[in-house]
Amino acid sequence: MDAVPVDTDTRTDTSSGSQPTTVPDSAADGAAACPHLRKYSLTPPESRPLDEPDYFGELRRECPASTVALGDSGSSWLFTAFEDVKAILADTRFSSSPLTPGFPLEGAPGSDAPVAVSTMIRSDPPVHTRLRRMVAKDFMPKAVEGYRDFVCATIDARIDSLANLPQPLDLIESFALAVPSDVIAKILGVPEEDEAMFQELTERMTTLSLSREEQYEVISEFAAFCDRLISLKESEPADDLLTRLTHEQLLTGELTREQLAGFVIMLVSAGHDTTAGMFGLSVLTLLQHPDQLELLRSGARSWDSAVEELVRIHTVVRMGPRRAATEDIQVGDTLVRKGEGVIASILAANHDESQFGPSGFADFSIPEEKPKHLGFGFGPHQCVGQNLARLELGYGLPRLFERYPNLRLVDDDITRLRFREGRAFFGIRELRVHL
């Protein structure tokens, strides 16, 4: 895209503009050079807990290629402008592997664990291409269309069961977390009797507040769980993703057992909390903007547009994405040197005013056309499950509001919301509603 080799004429761009006039030799030196140096934080403003951090907006205006401090000693580039972030994510010279020199590891616990670095999320082409193709077919549009019947039935069952619960009820536990977990367990082929353990491990594995030892421990526990499932699929093949991967990739020697377990861990952790977070945030957003809900009910706006807009403004994957430059790379006006770490913030990019206009929670307004956002990332690592997420949200949200037209919040004050803390993905901890 816009990122081009430094030996082209765009190199002269580095001397124009205000930032950076001196190109750092390393991210650490860059920290000294950047007048906007601050600690990387995702904490939203206190009175607007559903907005991006205020300094993202400042950086986009004044210093879209900034330097941030990570953890105790690390630092990294932080890109906040839409076009720059998109260009970085599309450019495979930026490595996704934590083993690449300069990869910003601090504050991203567990990403260099052996089982993590063997996954497609943390690998680069051609390894990434080979791994991704093993599962891309299971999430391509026509495959997801094949899941439609059971996904809709799963959602309907969960929605119906809400009526049996004492009110007010917590929509996060009873719906938002339950649906994606049911769906991914079914696609993978987790037996019903193992689903509770599967959910508990998933929940623990996606907790960030664990120490490094605890991270390794839960990952190895999950790997052992997967190992047992793999053995089951070897002896009792069924029509599911894990059976197919076991027979097509493991037994043919294409994947090791550890890599296959890594695959499962990755699919589960990336597909569970994300959609769950989006369900909770979406319901809250629509209940807080009844005029927008009315536009959906009257058909003046489409649920497809609403889902994309909700994914954009909430961008539940907020930590990164992170990359390391494998050579000197020009990004817009900025030269990123080989061996420097980069955070290409899709949260910041999705709030870029020049692309989307005002994008705070209070500004929520469903556009006629679906917004072209980076909520599912971009480039070869773009979310493999995006079509499934769209199906779950695009069916589950309208169905919920249709089934319970009087759905309302117990507490309308968003400053009293509690969020899922210490998690890899953004989401509400509890959303109490009356049906």
Binding site: M1, T129, R132, A136, M140, G379, Q382, N387
Partner: protein, 64 residues
């Protein structure tokens, strides 16, 4: 318009199929291929959308 797909770049996201289902499909590995190498101009808007939404820039218009 004349289209090509760089299969080495394709990551199988299926965004082209969503944008222009008459022009693109995916094989058994999820890799995109062309149903119509020279789609009519009526498909132009859909193809442009497919090119813009392809995360890896794997689709190219060779001429026109």
């Amino acid at each position: 318009m004349n289209l090509t797909i760089d299969v080495a770049k394709c990551c199988g996201s299926g965004q082209c199929v969503m944008a222009a289902p008459e022009v693109f499909d995916q094989d058994d590995d999820g890799v995109a291929f062309l149903l119509d190498r020279t789609p009519p101009d009526t498909e132009r808007a859909n193809v442009d959308e497919a090119i813009a939404s392809c995360p890896t820039g794997a689709i190219t218009v060779v001429d026109g």
